[in-house]
Amino acid sequence: MKKPNPLAIYASVIYGFLYLPLAVMFVFSFDKAPRNIVWTGWTGEWYLHLFHDAALWKSFLTSLGVAITAAAISSLIGVFAAYALAVRPRFKGRGAYSALINLPLIMPEIVMGVGILIFFVKARVPLGFWSLSSAHAMITLPYTVSLIRARFLSLRDSQMEEAAQDLGATPWQAFVKITLSLAKPAILGGALLAFTISFEDFTTSFFISGIGITTLPVKIYSMMKFGVTPEINALSSILLGLTIAALIFDRILLREKS
């Protein structure tokens, strides 16, 4: 018999640790028992339950709306921030601006969440769809900016914008027709990343979501208070499927252009 490669065993353990829980969750979403302790047989009824749960649908649509809005705001601001940080001639304090944009990456999210909550309350901004969307736009900004910025940097030295201006394009036309067009995959990729981060965000949403606005992760958390049900497993499995789909879509998008 062939001797097993110790590195392969090591890798299997790591991957097992990462993905076995997901597999267990997926399998138990088909368990007949209403409490996931023992296996009692296959069923798809939990998925049907989800489908008929109006409150769940509502929170799903809320999450979807917030994630789309946050992704749109984040990538729009991201384009201009990335352009300022990558392409425009160096301005005073560019390093500091860059660091400030990236700060939310390393800041504990709970600090961000509490900070944003206090700010909104003191500023008398009603907690709801827009406050939540803008908070999400903020926490996803570092991701969109760094993705788009990397693309802008790779285009910067090609003199393409200069060539466009030389051929009669205004600086704005040159930016839109050349740099922005060429950065489109990176911008879409950034928006997609912002979407997924917003969609699965719990901490910030937990603080900001006010009365009558509950995102899916917050809803799942409240469902968990009564124990892990196969319904939650089913819901999580669906979310997992959506995430994988988004990931594949993103890969295809980026590969197409490179």
Binding site: A163, A164, D166, L167, G168, T170, L182
Partner: protein
Amino acid sequence: MIINEMEKGNLEIDFSRTSAPPLLRIENIVKRFASTRILNQVSLTIEKGEFVTFLGPSGVGKTTALRIIAGFEKPDSGRVYLSGEDVTDLPPYRRNLHTVFQHYALFPHYDVFKNVAFSLELKKFPKDEIRKRTLEALELVQLLGFERRKTGELSGGQMQRVALARALVGRPALLLLDEPMGALDFKLRKMMQIELKNIQKKLGISFIYVTHDQDEALTMSDRIAVFNNGRIEQLGTPQEIYDRPRTAFVAEFVGTANIFSEKIRAAAGLGSENALFAARPEKILVHKNPVCSPQTVCIPSIVIDTAYAGSVRQVFFNPENGNGKAWVAYAGNSDSFSPGDKVWAKIKVENVISLCQKIEVNQ
């Protein structure tokens, strides 16, 4: 204005006003980056249909001069006039000139046709006009049939042609070329040089061509501006630049020059003290027993080495009283010299080039 003056009874007409202004005039351009003067009082006039080359080693300001003409940089002082109009403060997209960039800067998300048609589409020309003129431009650079190719599928030479067609399609009065052949191999370069010159003649467009390649400058240009230290050190036809270089820098940068040391000058009885002289290698005859007449300068020398260079044999030798730098002369390729040979370097007086010690600002 002239008619007005005539009506007023002022019949004295200034005829210089009636002739068309030059295509391009730059006046006393100064440009600094940080505290370094990149350009120092550069002035130049270019007429319609002229092929002018900016020649010089890298970092002497020729590309900066080109960028100021194109509008990508603003001079610290000095003016730029295009056909008499002051364009110093106009952005690049408002100037009637186009540029061929060193690395082409083609648009990778467009095919060849869209790249070339770019300026026409911006100007909102009718569709069939765009099509007609784009195909004409592609025909001019011999790329008909490549319209649907992506720029990534083209060779270096083809990309160069697309860049040229893209810049020519808008029929600018002036085309700027920034070391456009830098990335091409030697043979392709030679071919493109001839083609470029033909296109320029055919269209009657003025070209400003930036290069550090003296051969390219000599073969293609109507006039050459030799740049050094942020100034035009000499401006003239290729023949003037080669046969009558004004300074040691020009003499040594364009072709090869053997500079006379002070002792050689004194021994040859040329000029006054500290005057600078030089001779081209092909104007020096290396002889073992020359006949020296009063119309020649004869310098006793010792051969260091020879090198076979195909059509000629290069002879390297130390002139007596030289400053230690070896001279070079071209002998017939069948002549034989060995290191250590005592020879005479013979130059006709009329072939001795007189150089300025220093050039004055504002020539």
